[in-house]
């Protein structure tokens, strides 16, 4: 079995304006949604109380909601979590201990259905939430910087670094956009998934770059457009194969891993798809438009004429 029986020869570079436009539109939509709708931040980031409970029969969300409102919780968020019998309740930050929250909610839920069972209580102080937000942003930025540095070091040119970074930033922005548009809860596990996505997306880009360097090594007089096209085509079956396999496991995780890992695996699925696209269509195209040439990748050969200062 093979995805491509013959060597492919897709003209990725000459059609790059189209892909820029497509990515531009997607990023714009994501950013607009992020700035207008924002993200549905999880308790990890906002602080607050979450309670997971299960009912002997299908849970009645509205009944739970109204019981909570009657009990003096003004704006409870009640969602079905996992099976139809499980719910998650989210309440604003509280100074009560988990035990107090548990007791209070047990009373309320027993009013709805005496067989209700509380399975997990989380109380997160607002200051912890704020700190986690900061450290998540710092982690993302630090990762991007380190990667930029590594690629510049490894490939001797900022053109490729820039291409890689743009492609890599492209992916988490789209993940954020989808999370914002679909109002999926954005918690710490999603940040973890996004960092994994950055790693993955980069992985593809680096493999393509590696091939570009190899091609230029073979013959430095080749047209960059041709080299980039060939490199992407030659690594295409590997890129797609790897992503298919990774998607298989991530989809298994999404379908079977339970509600805790839903957001995590969703972010991975979106990120892997976006990453595959960006490493094929975006990263090399950016490098090309920055004027990538053979000598940028082979610095020893390029040194001679450049510097004639004493």
């Amino acid at each position: 079995m093979e995805f491509f029986h013959r060597a492919t020869n897709f003209p990725f570079m000459s059609t790059r304006k189209l892909w820029y436009a497509l990515s531009g539109v997607l990023i714009l939509i994501s950013l607009i949604s992020l700035f207008t709708r924002g993200l549905d931040l999880g308790v990890d980031f906002t602080g607050g109380v979450t309670v997971q409970a299960s009912f002997p029969a299908a849970a009645n969300r509205d009944a739970v909601s109204s019981a909570l409102i009657r009990a003096g919780y003004p704006d409870p968020q009640v969602t079905i979590f996992g099976t139809s019998r499980d719910i998650a309740i989210r309440l604003p930050p509280s100074t009560q201990s988990t035990e107090a929250v548990r007791e209070r909610l047990e009373q309320i839920l027993h009013g709805v259905d005496p067989g209700a069972q509380i399975r997990q209580v989380e109380v997160i102080g607002p200051q912890v939430g704020g700190e986690l937000q900061r450290s998540a942003v710092q982690g993302l930025l630090a990762t991007l910087l380190l990667i930029f540095g590594y690629i510049a070091l490894r490939f001797h040119t900022w053109r490729l670094s820039l291409g890689a970074i743009l492609a890599v930033m492209h992916d988490p922005i789209l993940v954020l956009g989808v999370f914002s548009l679909t109002r999926t809860t954005f918690d710490l596990t999603v940040v973890a998934a996004m960092l994994a996505v950055i790693g993955y997306s980069l992985n593809d880009t680096v493999v393509v770059f590696d091939r570009i360097r190899e091609r230029f090594h073979g013959s430095r007089r080749l047209d960059p457009v041709l080299v980039l096209d060939q490199s992407i085509n030659q690594t295409l079956s590997r890129t797609i194969m790897t992503k298919v396999v990774t998607l298989i496991v991530v989809v298994a995780l999404y379908a079977l891993g339970g509600p805790v890992l839903k957001g995590f695996s969703e972010a991975l699925i979106i990120g892997i798809l976006a990453g595959t696209y960006s490493s094929i269509y975006i990263s090399s195209a950016v490098a090309l438009d920055c004027g990538l040439k053979a000598e940028h990748l082979l610095p020893s050969a390029a040194k001679r004429p450049v510097d004639n200062m004493p």
């Binding site: 079995m1 109380v123 710092q138 960092l195 790897t242 298989i248 496991v249 991530v250 298994a252 995780l253």
Partner: protein, 624 residues
């Protein structure tokens, strides 16, 4: 011709076999167990084991097996019901000498346990339990230090007979926190003599003489290094104290660790009741001994709300007022040991003093025979108060005089204190024994995970892992034929290696950790795909099969290395920013990258060389 050196075959085989051994304990599963240890910190012996076995047998609680591990008796049961009943039985009859904690015991055979081979510990999300994140008030620790200095300064200056007007805190720190003390002096004071006297308290302190409004002043401001050292000390001291208290609670495999600059996280597997645990862990309670001020009238002081000079107003437990001398005879820090006992007058705490405390107590009691001595019970708690419309947490001392006794003779370093209820005596002795918290703590994050949810998380995670891997195995075999099967073997080896490493490091496995293992499968596949695609490409270019294999491995190497390093960067970043389960994910991801590089570059090559290597002629490769 395809050569693979013999020593590399041996290395791969050795690594995989060792990994299998370390990973093996994980497949046996666990039984509910009870862990019993001596309160006296003596190890369990066969005699004690026999008596506990007999006790449970009498109650008709079936024990599956039991053994002594690290001085603790581990009793294994068939079901949770027997486990709980056994705990209650041990608690009811042996609570004075033994401490029982619910735990789990691996079903792995005894020889594995004896070799120290243990399964990966499970995170709280997989086994249920209580997670607490404490915020340590490090500023409070600094002001406590200043208070101690203030007292010492007063004592030093009084002893040296050098007059001073007042000692006040200097609020120069961020947010107006006190970082120093100012000693205001009467005019024409001998500042050098004063400074010398102050230096006797602590020679490392820096004293600055300046001219104030009413006369000279001496400033002592702590250096940033001194503040940092104090904060660090407070955090470490608090961690130790929390650890001691957790141990007193009887929880199996608890984790108490520092997190960041001013946090401590406590993980208590199996614990469900948070209120009781939090109360015990966060409590700050201690005793103080002071002489009673018999010259002044406490009623008058209470009415006017002002205590006479040198005295402080207290209340007894029944609410009546009493005046005590300002000087403390013995502070809580000078208590070294406390055990709850019963005396003729009811519950009591037997107390032992350190050298300084004993000295002070001896001196005071010798000079004050016939006079009354009071015992003050101090419990610190945090309360929200409103200041200028803003809610602020304030530490409040709840002090009450629990006992006043007439001194009949000179006190030695050990004596008994009465006047407490049995519960108070027990709590107090526990708190004094575990050490005091050097700074107040506050719970800022709390998670309680029910045990059934944990089991469900394990089931789901493992099912996703197994099904995802099976799908990948089938797909790889279809796509790459024999090479696909090699890749499958390598993937399996990778999971074994990763499990072995995690078991070896005793890194606890959480649900995101399982997700990390699943993702590692994806990464490990990638390296193989890179190699195989390269081999196919070489074959298409008309290269001979064996040369194609060699070229495939060689040329794919730089791509594999580069792509793994970038993934490693992301993994390490996660490791640094993440806490709890996220860190677990990062550990798995980072280790997984390392193991996948080994298995795909070494393991895969070994297997393929075994199939196609040597001097035989290979006409075709089964690479799909």
């Amino acid at each position: 011709m395809l050569e693979f050196p013999r020593w590399k075959y041996v290395l791969v085989a050795l690594v995989v076999l060792t990994a299998l051994l370390f990973a093996l304990p994980n497949v046996f599963g666990e039984d509910p167990a009870l862990q019993v240890e001596r309160k006296s910190s003596l190890p369990m012996d066969n005699f004690a084991r026999q008596s506990i076995e007999d006790l449970l047998r009498k109650q008709q609680i079936p024990i599956t097996r039991d053994y002594i591990d690290n001085g603790r008796l581990i009793l294994v049961f068939n079901d949770v019901a027997a486990q709980l009943k056994a705990r209650d039985t041990v608690d009811a009859t042996l609570a004075d000498v033994d401490r029982a904690a619910l735990s789990t015991a691996s079903r792995a055979p005894a020889w594995m346990r004896k070799l120290g081979l243990k399964p990966m510990p499970l995170g709280l999300d997989l086994r249920g339990g209580l997670y607490l994140l404490y915020q340590v008030d490090v500023n409070g620790a600094v002001s406590q230090l200043l208070e101690t200095y203030e007292q010492s300064f007063r004592r030093a200056l009084t002893e040296a007979k050098l007059p001073f007007t007042e000692i006040t805190p200097i609020n120069a720190g961020a947010g107006g926190n006190a970082t120093g003390l100012r000693i205001t002096l009467p005019p024409q004071s001998d500042t050098s003599a004063l400074t010398a006297a102050l230096k006797t308290v602590d020679n490392s302190l820096d004293f600055q003489v300046r001219t104030g409004q009413s006369g000279p002043e001496i400033d002592m401001v702590l250096s940033p290094a001194q503040i940092k050292a104090r904060e660090d000390y407070a955090l470490e001291q608090n961690r130790t104290t929390l650890m001691n208290r957790v141990n007193e609670l009887g929880v199996s495999e608890p984790i108490v660790q520092r997190q960041g600059l001013d946090r401590i996280n406590v993980q208590l597997p199996g614990v469900q009741n948070s209120a009781e645990v939090k109360d015990m862990l966060g409590k700050v309670a201690t005793l103080e001994f002071r002489l009673v001020d018999t010259q002044d009238n406490p009623l008058q002081a209470e009415q006017s709300g002002r205590a006479p000079l040198g005295a402080k107003l207290y209340h007894r437990k029944d609410g009546s007022a009493i005046l005590l001398k300002r000087e403390v005879v013995v502070t809580g820090d000078e208590l070294t040991q406390a055990t709850s006992t019963t005396s003729n007058e009811g519950p009591a705490v037997s107390i032992k003093l350190d050298a300084r405390g004993a000295d002070s107590m001896q001196r005071t009691t010798r000079l004050n025979v016939g006079k009354p001595l009071a015992v003050v019970y101090i419990e610190k708690s945090r309360r929200q108060v409103e200041i200028n419309g803003q809610k602020v947490e304030r530490e409040t001392n709840n002090e009450s005089v629990i006992n006043v006794a007439t001194i009949r003779g000179v006190f030695g370093p050990q004596f008994e204190v009465t006047g407490l209820t049995a519960a108070e005596a027990r709590d107090l002795s526990l708190l004094l024994r575990s050490g005091s918290l050097a700074a107040p703590v506050d719970v800022v994050e709390e998670r309680a995970i029910g045990p059934s949810l944990g089991q469900e998380n394990i089931d789901k995670g493992v099912r996703a892992l197994v099904i995802g891997m099976l799908a990948v195995f089938v797909f790889m075999a279809l796509y790459y034929h024999a090479f696909g099967l090699v890749a499958d073997a390598v993937l399996l080896a990778n999971v074994v290696l990763l499990t072995a490493l995690l078991s070896l490091l005793r890194a606890s496995l959480s649900l995101p950790g399982i997700a990390g293992i699943i993702l590692t499968v994806g990464i490990a596949v990638d390296a193989n795909v890179l190699i195989y695609e390269r081999i196919r490409e070489e074959l298409r270019n008309g290269v001979s099969p064996q040369a194609a294999i060699r070229a495939g491995f060689d040329k794919a190497f730089s791509a594999i290395a580069d792509s793994n390093v970038t993934a490693l960067i992301a993994g390490l970043a996660l490791w640094v920013i993440g806490t709890g389960p996220i860190r677990g994910f990062a550990i798995v991801l980072t280790l997984g990258i390392a193991t996948s590089m080994f298995t795909s570059l070494m393991g895969s090559r070994a297997l393929i060389s075994l199939i196609y290597g040597g001097r035989r002629k290979v006409a075709q490769l089964a690479i799909g």
